[in-house]
């Protein structure tokens, strides 16, 4: 890699040993992918995936202390993934004990570290930092130093920004240095598709299921998806963006997708069309039967597969305003049709604090509460990262949550049916 004189000086220790190690890390990272140079980070804000003060990752906080002791903070303010604890989310005494006394013992000190390192605000803990209400929305072409797989794939695909699937810690080092190695999704060549996905469904495919199928098939490659504009239209309106948020999160967690192109819809696909497809690209055809097969083959890891659901999470990634409103309407209609007044499974809807604040200004927030739904800023994934939750029959329509925890996946319609059944009430 060819470094500028300034970058070389940093590597040689001009700003101290710790900064030299930061740059060495970035240089080795670039070397692993044949990067020839560093490019400046141009987005206004960064985003970090590490939002949790987990006792098990104390070495990370020790490393951040090293950075702070050396006077190294992020050159740009940044947002962070959602917090792992929210008192509003139902938990047993034992779970509380495990969360507060065993698992997340370092939460408060870590949040203090993030303040020192440069988090934008104590409210900006969300995986959907790119929503208008939160305000960390990069411009097309911006170079980012972000981590959080669902945010990276959204920024690349829907916003047209450029970011590799960076890991936690590396993303902060890029923001500290102000530059990142140029490779992969930062290059035109790296953004070309090596898979053509033909969607031939007879009904609108479930976003999280379609994303899962594609992720598991293409893994880290870039898919060019045809036939989805039939269901999403050709404009990136709020509904399409919400769909792509969930779709992308599933591609990234069930595989390792960092960028997808949707024909006639996402910015680069609209501009370049099939020129984005590499020669010899493989083809994956998805119809309703294929999606049913994918869903059928998910392992059920509940101790008792017939157990009655004890908790339902909706909102991984965090919900948008329009999704919250849409869910409110659907729950209202379902409850009315069944003569019920409240959901029959404890249900948590998660969204960022700024979105929830705006949502509170609408009539839907109080409606949802009346129906028994809990609104929270929590990260369901972090909430479920413990053996106690493994024994709990948790359901979700998030394929990311299914992948990392024992939560059982159902489509949105199925979830709606389950949380509004009289049987579940018994």
């Amino acid at each position: 890699m060819i470094l500028t004189p300034e970058q070389q000086a940093l590597l040689d220790g001009a700003k101290g040993e710790t900064m030299a190690k930061v740059v060495k890390t970035l240089v080795m990272y670039g070397d692993a992918f044949g990067a020839e140079r560093m490019v400046p980070v141009t987005s206004k804000y960064g985003h970090t995936v590490i939002s949790f003060g987990l006792k098990a990752i104390k070495p990370v906080y020790a490393l951040y202390d090293q950075l702070l002791d050396a006077g190294l903070v992020s050159g740009q303010k940044f947002t962070a993934d959602p917090k792992p604890i929210d008192p509003k989310v139902p938990s047993s005494l034992l779970e509380d004990l495990v969360f507060k006394k065993i698992m997340y013992t370092d939460q408060k000190p870590y949040e203090e570290q993030l303040r020192k390192l440069g988090i934008t605000s104590d409210d900006d803990y969300t995986c959907t930092c790119y929503l208008d209400e939160v305000g960390n929305k990069p411009e097309k072409g911006d170079v980012l130093s972000w981590a959080e797989s669902s945010a990276v794939v959204y920024a690349n695909s829907v916003l047209g920004a450029r970011c590799n699937r960076n890991s936690g810690i590396i993303e902060l080092m890029g923001s500290i240095a102000g530059f990142v190695p140029e490779f992969g999704l930062l290059t035109d060549e790296g953004r070309k598709a090596s898979w053509i996905v033909e969607v031939r469904c007879e009904k609108r495919p479930e976003a999280q299921l379609l994303g899962s199928a594609i992720g598991m098939k293409v893994m880290e490659d870039v898919p060019y998806v045809k036939g989805l504009d039939k269901w999403l239209g050709t404009e990136l309106d709020e509904k399409a963006c919400a769909y792509l948020k969930d779709f992308g999160a599933a591609t990234a967690s069930n595989g390792a997708v960092g960028l997808y192109h949707i024909e006639n819809l996402t910015p680069e696909a609209k501009e370049q069309g099939e020129a984005l497809i590499r020669e010899g690209a493989q083809v994956y055809v998805i119809d309703d039967a294929e999606l049913a097969r994918v869903q059928r083959e998910y392992p059920v890891v509940w101790k008792d597969p017939e157990a009655k659901p004890q908790l339902c999470f909706v909102g991984c990634p965090h919900l948008t305003m329009s999704q919250l409103i849409n869910w409110s309407d659907r729950i209202e209609n379902a409850l009315r049709a069944k003569g019920l007044s409240q959901v029959t499974v404890p249900t948590v809807f998660t969204a960022s604090t700024p979105v929830l604040r705006e949502f509170e200004k609408t009539v839907y927030a109080s409606k949802l509460r009346t129906y028994g739904v809990i609104l929270s800023y929590i990260c369901p994934l972090m909430y479920m990262n413990n053996p106690l939750c493994k024994k709990k029959a948790v359901i979700t329509c998030s394929n990311k949550l299914r992948t990392y925890t024992s939560a059982r996946y159902y489509t949105e319609d199925e979830i709606l049916g389950i949380i509004t059944t009289k049987e579940a009430a018994k």
């Binding site: 992918f33 070495p59 967690s253």
Partner: protein
């Protein structure tokens, strides 16, 4: 005994028993429970990976195509290295992915752990190596499997 030649990502040598994941290795899902609850054997917690689910990973020669999943992956590997709970080495049949590379490099630069990493060993490597075989990694990226 068969030899394979790959590219050195993190230099080093070791001999260890192979643990083979034929599908993508989900770093977070594999390590989260073991790190969180101090599992001394560091058993794999990824229920979606039948090849290695519940098998001890500590000190094994982890053979895999690539890593997948959450972007906490590199941080998780770094943590494993810091705590001495890393595999003996990581051997990739494909070019290394960004998350695994991050974790391996963070481990190399910021900890004292030794975890040689070799990638691009080819499909034949992953087809040949079986869990339980003995794997030797040499400084130049040559991997011997017997």
């Amino acid at each position: 005994m068969k030899q394979f030649k790959g590219r050195v990502v993190v230099p080093g040598t070791c001999t260890a028993e192979a643990l083979v994941s034929r599908g993508g290795f989900n770093t977070l899902a594999s390590y989260q429970m073991a790190l969180m609850f101090g599992d001394k054997q560091v058993k794999c917690g990824d229920q979606n990976n039948p090849d290695i689910y519940k098998k001890p990973m500590l000190g094994k020669a982890l053979c895999l195509p690539m890593t997948i999943g959450s972007t906490t992956g590199g941080m998780v590997l770094y943590t494993a290295c810091s705590m001495g709970k890393q595999p003996a080495c990581m051997l990739f049949s494909l070019p290394i992915d960004s998350l695994a590379a991050s974790g391996a490099i963070l481990g190399d630069v910021w900890t004292d752990a030794s975890m040689p990493v070799v990638d691009q060993l080819g499909e034949e490597f992953l087809a040949y190596v079986k869990t339980g075989m003995t794997v030797t990694v040499k400084e130049d990226g040559v991997v011997e499997v017997e």
